[in-house]
């Protein structure tokens, strides 16, 4: 049963992509999001595709996990395609039926835009597939560090995130337990009119809140007993370290960007 409770979609592994510093991955994705929109011809798309596919294969994440990750967005990708296909009125008419005219420009636009979308999702989902939530938290804490000067509670935010992550499986188990108990008392969560089903949530939510508050209180006490007094003067066990491989990847990525600009200009 516990297996169903794996948080996020992290797929354990030991590939180069897994071992990269999470900050490296986040930074590269950040820039990738921008440069995807700079692609304007087959060559430039080609470069981005090679980069995305290379990352995917290096990560050794089984294809089915990636496809599973894409399922919720297939609809969006197809919708974007169709929208562009029908709305764009450039180039020559290549097909015509009823009131619709499909232009060659529309077809190209549709393919290009939805392909951009696909690349974006592929690369971002690689982040969550190869990085544990706690690593992402660490990276965010570190990258937001400069905001501390403006009294932004960076440490508190990161602690909140990591405690939330820690308690997700616990609360899921609890939800499961309470819904079973209430079902045994005759609550029907699955059938009946919508109004009844909404009403059925109350006996589930109230106990969940009560227990979450109790947990929070006990956890706060346990943290205090263990000497927690805020971020001041704290050391950290988890340490992010930029290694040679991170630098290598940055250089490689710089070439990708350079290649992209060349492809834009010279073709």
């Amino acid at each position: 049963m516990n297996n169903a409770l794996i948080i996020g979609q992290y797929v354990p592994g030991d590939s180069l992509v897994h071992r990269l510093d999470p900050r490296t991955k986040i930074t590269i994705i950040f820039f990738f999001v921008f440069i995807v929109f700079l692609a304007n011809n087959v060559a430039s798309y080609g470069i981005l595709t090679v980069f995305a596919l290379a990352s995917m294969f290096t990560s050794k994440v089984p294809i089915r996990f990636i496809i599973k990750g894409l399922t919720p967005v297939w609809f969006l990708i197809i919708f974007t395609f169709i929208l562009h296909l029908f709305v764009t009125r450039e180039g020559t008419v290549i097909a015509e039926f009823w009131i619709f005219k499909i232009y060659s420009g529309g077809l190209i636009q549709g393919i290009a835009i939805s392909f951009r979308f696909f690349l974006l999702i592929l690369v971002t989902s690689l982040l969550t597939l190869t990085t544990t939530p706690i690593e992402i938290t660490d990276a965010i804490e570190d990258m937001l560090h400069p905001l501390k000067r403006f009294k932004f509670p960076v440490h508190e935010l990161a602690l909140m995130m990591s405690i939330s992550l820690r308690f997700i499986p616990t609360l899921l188990q609890e939800t499961d337990k309470i819904s079973r108990a209430q079902a045994s008392r005759g609550v029907d969560f699955k059938t009946g009119p919508v109004k009844e089903r909404i009403k059925a949530i109350v006996p589930l939510l109230v106990p969940l809140f009560v227990s979450a508050f109790k947990r929070a209180e006990e956890l706060a006490m346990a943290m205090e007993a263990r000497g927690y007094q805020g971020g001041e003067g704290r050391t950290k066990l988890r340490e992010l370290k930029i290694e040679r491989r991170d630098i290598f990847i940055f250089i490689l990525f710089a070439f990708v960007i350079a290649g992209l600009f060349m492809a834009r200009t010279y073709s």
Binding site: T132, I163, T170, K214, E218, A225, R226, G233, R234, T235
Partner: protein, 279 residues
């Protein structure tokens, strides 16, 4: 002379100014390298003692001295360094994302350098035999394993006093045994004094001394063996009487002339054997 580590001087406590007294005029002392069990029914005030010991609560009357320092607002952070605590619910005290993060939490709070942390994580996880679980997330651990990690987390800050506040109450028998074995094996580590709070008389057998609480007062302070003799009185204050004590009592009534109050099966059998072979 043994060093006095904990002292309660006429301590009384209640929640708010109007509430009933949860603790009434309690005084006791606990020494270095000593294992004291505090036992009592639910609501007898035993857990309040634990919270007073490391400044999670403060008494209205009396004073609490830990290793020569009085517990008050000003001293709590240094007191908490010396008094470590393991609570009842294994889930609600696990802070870290993995076992090693949880052990590190207390050390991080105290600014322990990274290399030192790593060393102590290895040491304390071995002491509770959880060294193979360093990178495991809490939801993959059993209750007993989580409590062992909690013990390791406390040991990592090398406290002088370790309190287990009903740390076994939510565990199954095998989890309970895990914890009692662990506690038995770490007890003589660096002269730690150990306070176990429980309502299970089986768990006081190994202690050096027992404090029995009843309705906020110290009902009795004695050796486990002496406590076991008070069969009827124990029942009256809502505690269970161990099988050995009941059997010894029945044997006496059946006319078997037992010498002492036995603490476990082996002692009783030994006693019976002596009687048996004398004749």
């Amino acid at each position: 002379m043994r060093k006095k580590l904990v002292e309660f001087r006429n301590v009384s406590f209640r929640y708010g100014d109007e509430g009933p007294w949860v603790l009434k005029n309690c005084s006791f002392e606990i020494y270095e390298n000593e294992w004291v069990a505090i036992i009592g029914h639910n609501g007898s005030g035993k857990s309040t003692i634990a919270k007073l010991l490391n400044g999670l609560l403060f008494p209205q009357e009396g004073e609490i001295i830990i290793d020569g320092k009085q517990v008050n607002e000003a001293s709590i952070w240094s007191i908490r360094k010396e008094v470590g605590m393991v609570f009842q619910n294994p889930d609600n005290q696990f802070v870290g994302a993995t076992v090693q993060d949880d052990v590190a939490f207390g050390m991080e709070n105290r600014g322990v350098p990274r290399d030192e942390m790593k060393k102590r994580i290895t040491e304390t996880l071995s002491a509770v035999r959880m060294q193979d679980y360093r990178l495991i997330e809490p939801h993959r651990l059993s209750g007993g394993q989580k409590q062992r990690v909690a013990i390791a987390s406390v040991l990592a800050i090398s406290p002088k006093v370790l309190i287990l506040d009903e740390a076994t109450a939510m565990l199954d028998p095998s989890g309970r045994k895990e914890i009692m074995d662990t506690v038995g094996s770490i007890q003589h580590l660096n002269g730690l004094s150990l306070i176990t709070i429980t309502h299970d008389l089986q768990e006081v057998v190994q202690a050096d001394r027992v404090i029995v609480m009843n309705s906020g007062e110290i009902w009795k302070e004695a050796l486990p063996r002496e406590i076991f003799r008070e069969k009827d009185a124990l029942r009256k204050i809502g505690l269970d009487v161990p099988f050995v004590a009941i059997l010894a009592d029945e044997l006496k009534q059946a006319g078997v002339n037992l010498q002492a109050a036995p603490l476990n099966h082996e002692e009783l059998l030994e006693d019976l054997w002596t009687l048996h072979s004398k004749t």
